[in-house]
Symmetry: C2
Subunit: 272 residues, 2 copies
């Protein structure tokens, strides 16, 4: 086959499918020349359901490129049903469970994956509380509760504060607030007053003037706010502020929220 | 060793560590009798950095239970450095890449994992736009833009609309709005007016009266709003509304946002 053909990729799971998608997609990024059509089938809880999906996939084997099947099913009857599939089966659990059983000297529980269930109820509740906190403290709203924040993201408008805050909350249960830097913050001396007691918790975001101007233009075309000159001024002023108060910062122009979150956790030494 | 001992678990990555944490934690849930102390080391980009981490882990081998090391490093020199570690090495990439190389008939790129980078810029921008949309349309704010929503989560207060909306946006790039059901919606006939043109896009959330009353009590102790009676009334009324308008729904009391999101994607046939 040529690489122009579209190869189906199935993510099969007895739970949400998140784990299968995550590792499966990581592996697929190693084969950038291929075109893939991704289908997630979550909540396969019986061998019969598994056989139905296998039937669908086997029909595709006859007519096009052999589908790739990433599976994270845990129960042995479901895994056996999936193993009969004529696609390229990549068993993401079975391969490693055996190794861990041997090393830990105890058998795996073979319960369906609960990694993305309620699991540890306390940890789950704290993640939900963090989301609520992030919603309530977005963009400098209700500054009173900054003392509860584990980290305060500081940046000019549209540098990625909101999605990064939300990601830290939802994925990692981190209480993250954010604080927008505006012109008057750059005209005054020192840190903006609400941040002064919490400088140790501040993490700055910056961007590139051109990129920031593009993003702001989508929102308010032709405004002074979106001008390259204003964006350059704000970013220079913000970086000066970060440096003079020893606030760690990163440029958000070329990294994803996931990468920003991982960097912030590491630099701020936050335990999640 | 006994299972009371705390075994260190390392997630090593040349990128964010998200993939290593996701599959690693899924595997660990199969061994519930053990106590684990989790440490993520992201952004290992040189063999020297890898050797430093290996040195830290090898010191632990001498003094306690053998650490488990989940690795998603892609480049061969980093993988070789990690392979020298005396912990229990679980190589989540290498194991499967070989299988895919053979099946696809092409070599892996061996570029560091970009699954959680900007990757597909268009897809990334659409996720960020979805987060912005979710922030702006939380809790029935600005109903005007409901026609842009791919799904509208409908539920009484505190049934999990907001975090589920945010998860759908941030992880899956789904444009999700949400609409709170209040007493006056139950007193009138039919669907709330703003939802009527969009009944096909509605998905309902329910809960258990006791659970909902507990959650509301945390927010407003002793209020009529938090009473078991009021919670029971709202949930019964909401479920009647869902059933009579054929709106699919689920009970959020015992499932996680990840499970809700996966169910909603599947039931509403949303492509992400």
């Amino acid at each position: 086959m040529t690489n122009d053909e579209i190869r189906p990729v199935y993510f099969l799971s007895d739970s949400t499918g998140i784990t299968a998608e995550t590792l499966g997609n990581t592996l697929l990024t190693q084969f950038p020349a291929n075109n893939f059509d991704r289908i997630t089938v979550p909540f396969i809880t019986t061998a019969e359901q598994a056989r139905t999906v296998v039937g669908t996939i086997d029909k595709l084997v006859a007519t096009g490129p052999r589908p790739i099947v990433f599976s994270t099913a845990v129960s042995s009857d479901i895994r056996q049903a999936i193993a009969t599939c004529q696609g390229i089966i990549v068993d993401l659990i079975g391969t490693h469970v055996g190794q861990l059983e041997e090393a830990l000297g105890s058998p795996a529980s073979a319960e369906p994956g609960r990694a993305h269930g309620l699991g540890n109820a306390e940890r789950y509740q704290s993640r939900m509380a963090a989301v609520e906190y992030a919603m309530e403290h977005d963009d400098g709203q209700s500054l009173r509760a900054l003392e509860k924040a584990q980290v305060i993201l500081v940046a000019p408008s549209r540098c990625g504060k909101t999605p990064t805050t939300m990601y830290l909350a939802l994925q990692h249960g981190i209480f993250a607030a954010n604080f927008p830097l505006v012109d008057e913050d750059f005209q005054r001396e020192g840190l903006p007053r609400p941040l002064r007691p919490f400088v140790e918790k501040c993490f700055g975001l910056s961007s590139n003037p051109l990129r920031l101007s593009q993003i702001r233009t989508e929102r308010r075309r032709g405004s002074p706010y979106a001008s390259l000159r204003q964006c350059g001024f704000e970013l220079r002023s913000a970086e000066q502020l970060y440096v003079s108060h020893r606030i760690p910062y990163l440029n958000s122009a070329t990294v994803s929220v996931e990468e920003m979150a991982a960097t912030i956790l590491q630099r701020m030494n936050l335990k999640h």
